[in-house]
Amino acid sequence: MFTRRLNSPFIYLLGFISLFLGADYLVHKGIQTGLEKYYGISSENEIAFVGHSHLMLGVDKERFEEEIGKKVSKYTIEGVNVYDRYLMLNHLMDENKNLKTIVYGVNPWMFTGSGLSENSYQLFLPFMNNELIGNYVKKEMDGFEYWQKKIIKSSRYNERLVSGSMRGYLGIWSNLKFGNLDPEKYRKRIENGDYRQINSLETNRNIFEKSINELTSQGINVVLLYVPTTDLYNDLEPREFSNELDYFRKIEKENDRVLYFEYLNGWESNYDLFFDPIHLNPEGQALLTEQFISDIEKNEEKLSP
């Protein structure tokens, strides 16, 4: 009778499902550990970069560490909006009580309500066990999807996260975008209306200010870094563009623990430094990193705890 039971379809299925769930858990743990290394979460680093792809491709973390002499976390995710960044900051602070300085990537389009990845919450799924992130992703998904991600843990990942995890294990933070910007191609796109407009929402500004206030009130310095973008986009709405930059300058003026760096002159029209209109290529990254390190060193006193 026992043998018959062992041969029953039910036992086979149960065995297969158990094996799958076991493999699923191991894969999840493996990818998650790599990602934590890649983003520098659960570390004791004093400096962290937080932002989206501009910052990801804009600053060379390894070169920065070498020159400044401190370990750095680079928690940058493509397409994250202002609220996502608020979460990332909280996630970092939950896991690392040693943070002294946050380099926060800013740009004139960051308060626009649309145009960034609408499902950027998916990039936080690996960390959904963190309470704040867990509540956020739960709000973004329907109940079925939420529980599916809870049970089948490998479904929290995608190729970008897997690639990040592999980079974490291999210790590769380089900008791997190659090639130069083809301005003509993008001019055509812009003529077709294919570009992101500046349309700042008050709610997004409030979240940003809340993030800054929470950081500075805990004694953390904030460096707002505008990684350059090309004049192909910068010149499309000059008045709005200028207003946004004034807003960042105002934030810097109002807060002793905030510094703001922008790189426009000499950068925005030098297309050889860009991969596309808003992202630097490795050559551009090297130059910006050098300039940024130099600017940080000049302001070392202000950035000391």
Binding site: F16, F144, S155, E159, K177
Partner: protein
């Protein structure tokens, strides 16, 4: 309801135990209800359209077979005409009117106000052709008419193959509706394995390749020749994985319920001629056209001019079957031309008595490569949004000019290339009979490795699956 959705998995998981627990006499009622639920969950009103086509063919079949029917041919053509009306209205009315408008507008008459605003019912070409084959087979006295309307409705609407095939024949399916299917764990395993492989091809490979190919085909003027080449290559594998993935999931689902559907794909990109390609690609449609169009036209037992005409008719109609656009017509025309050129090539080889080179392996690989290139080029016309786009792209695709676009995410593009290589490796193993192409065949690999590979496939689906895209062939 998509096969690749959780909705379908739950629907099917509920259906299996209910189906096998039900008494035999009620099972086909359940299949009909499940199939109509499956179809009407998309748009309920089109369920009536399918029911209409089913009833028309059921009674047409009865009339044709009846001894009291005087003119069987008239009944057949009447049935075909009425069955094709919805297809023509929903699929071809605007194509016809737009094409007419090009001519009439030259003469100063604009008929664009006659265009109809309709949504194409999903899978209409599939269920219409399946229903028609029943009436024609009765007329040709290949089968006897079905007496049970429920069985017939179940045959036309059978949900696993309803929306994108395989286009089944009554002679294969109707007897299966009368059999008593008992739950068989081997069938379950075979069906589930095929379903998993189909799902992998669809949501991991096909949908990922679309991320690169879609923007290029939607705005080809923005991209270089190299990029157009890569996008066409990606589409070549995308359409294969999309459609064969659907077929695998259909055959797998049916197998679990105890039904055996026909094989629809058999490693088509390893064909060494266009003729062979059409014996391996969308087999159920190719054989449909062969049986119900090519042979009635006289097949190849006619003078050469008439045969050439027959070939063009079959391929052009096949093109139109896929879509009401001149790009599909050109795609069909290209394949007809390939077929004929190949025929001439064969004749030349025979004439010069150089048959020996045919047996050389390198010659075979060369033919596989050339056939692939020809098929690759034709997909460009199939996928292009308009004739002008197709012509523009066909001029650039072999130019290899400009810089290559690496996609919105180079990681995704690199993964896409890796997946194509993986697919080719799997297909080569299948071609060399190391692993089975379809169910019921033994693998040379140990069982534990087969099970482990399915766990890896499931993990691949879980991590890399993209779950939102509809199947390409639904639009046909």
């Amino acid at each position: 309801m998509l096969f690749s959705s959780w909705e379908y998995i739950i629907f099917f998981a509920v259906l299996i135990p209910v189906y096998f627990r039900l008494e035999q006499q009620y099972r086909n009622y359940l299949l009909c209800i499940a199939s109509y639920y499956f179809y009407m969950s998309w748009r309920w009103e089109f369920g009536f359209l399918m029911l209409f086509v089913s009833i028309v063919n059921f009674y047409t079949g009865k009339k044709i077979a009846s001894r009291n029917t005087g003119n069987r041919k008239a009944w057949l053509f009447g049935g075909i005409f009425i069955s094709l009306l919805p297809l023509f209205y929903f699929k071809y009315a605007n194509f016809f009117l737009e094409s007419m408008n090009v001519i009439t507008s030259e003469a100063g008459y604009d008929i664009s106000n006659l265009y109809v605003s309709v949504i194409l019912p999903v899978g209409i070409s599939f269920f219409t052709f399946q229903a028609l084959s029943y009436s024609i087979d009765i007329y040709n006295e290949k089968i006897k008419p079905e007496t049970n309307l429920v069985n017939f409705i179940g045959f036309v609407a059978f949900f696993p193959q309803l929306i994108a095939g395989p286009i089944e024949r009554a002679s294969n399916m109707l007897p299966q509706f009368k059999e008593k299917h008992v739950f068989n764990f081997d069938h379950f395993k075979e069906g589930a394995m095929l379903f998993i492989w189909g799902l992998f091809k669809k949501i991991v490979i096909a949908d990922r390749l679309a991320i690169y190919s879609d923007p290029v085909f939607n705005s080809p003027e923005l991209y270089s020749g190299q990029t157009i080449f890569l996008a066409t290559l990606f589409f070549t594998f995308q359409i294969y994985c999309d459609f064969s993935g659907y077929s695998d999931m259909a055959i797998g689902s049916a197998r679990i319920l105890g039904f055996k559907l026909m094989q629809n794909f058999n490693l088509p990109y390893l064909s060494s001629s266009i003729g062979e390609f059409w014996k391996r690609w969308h087999i159920s449609l190719s054989s449909w056209f062969s049986d119900y169009l090519y042979i009635p036209l006289g097949g190849n037992r006619v003078p050469i001019r008439r045969w050439v005409f027959n070939i063009y008719v079959v391929f052009l109609v096949s093109g139109l079957w896929h879509g009401a656009n001149w790009t599909f017509v050109i795609w069909g025309g290209l394949h007809a031309s390939y077929y004929l050129v190949e025929y001439i090539g064969k004749k030349i080889i025979s004439y010069f008595n150089i048959e020996s080179i045919r047996n050389q392996k390198s010659y075979k690989y060369f033919r596989i490569f050339v056939t692939f290139l020809l098929v690759f080029y034709s997909w460009l016309f199939f996928r292009a949004n308009s004739l002008s786009d197709a012509l523009y792209m066909s001029g650039k695709v072999f130019e290899f000019s400009g810089s290559l676009w690496f996609g919105s995410s180079s990681v995704t593009t690199l993964l896409s290339l890796a997946l194509i290589i993986f697919l080719i490796v799997v297909e080569l193993l299948q071609y060399n009979k190391k692993i089975p192409v379809y169910i019921n065949q033994e693998s040379v690999f140990p069982k534990w490795l087969v099970w482990a590979s399915y766990i890896i496939l499931l993990l691949g689906i879980s991590i890399f699956g993209i779950s939102s895209n509809a199947f390409i062939y639904f639009q046909f």
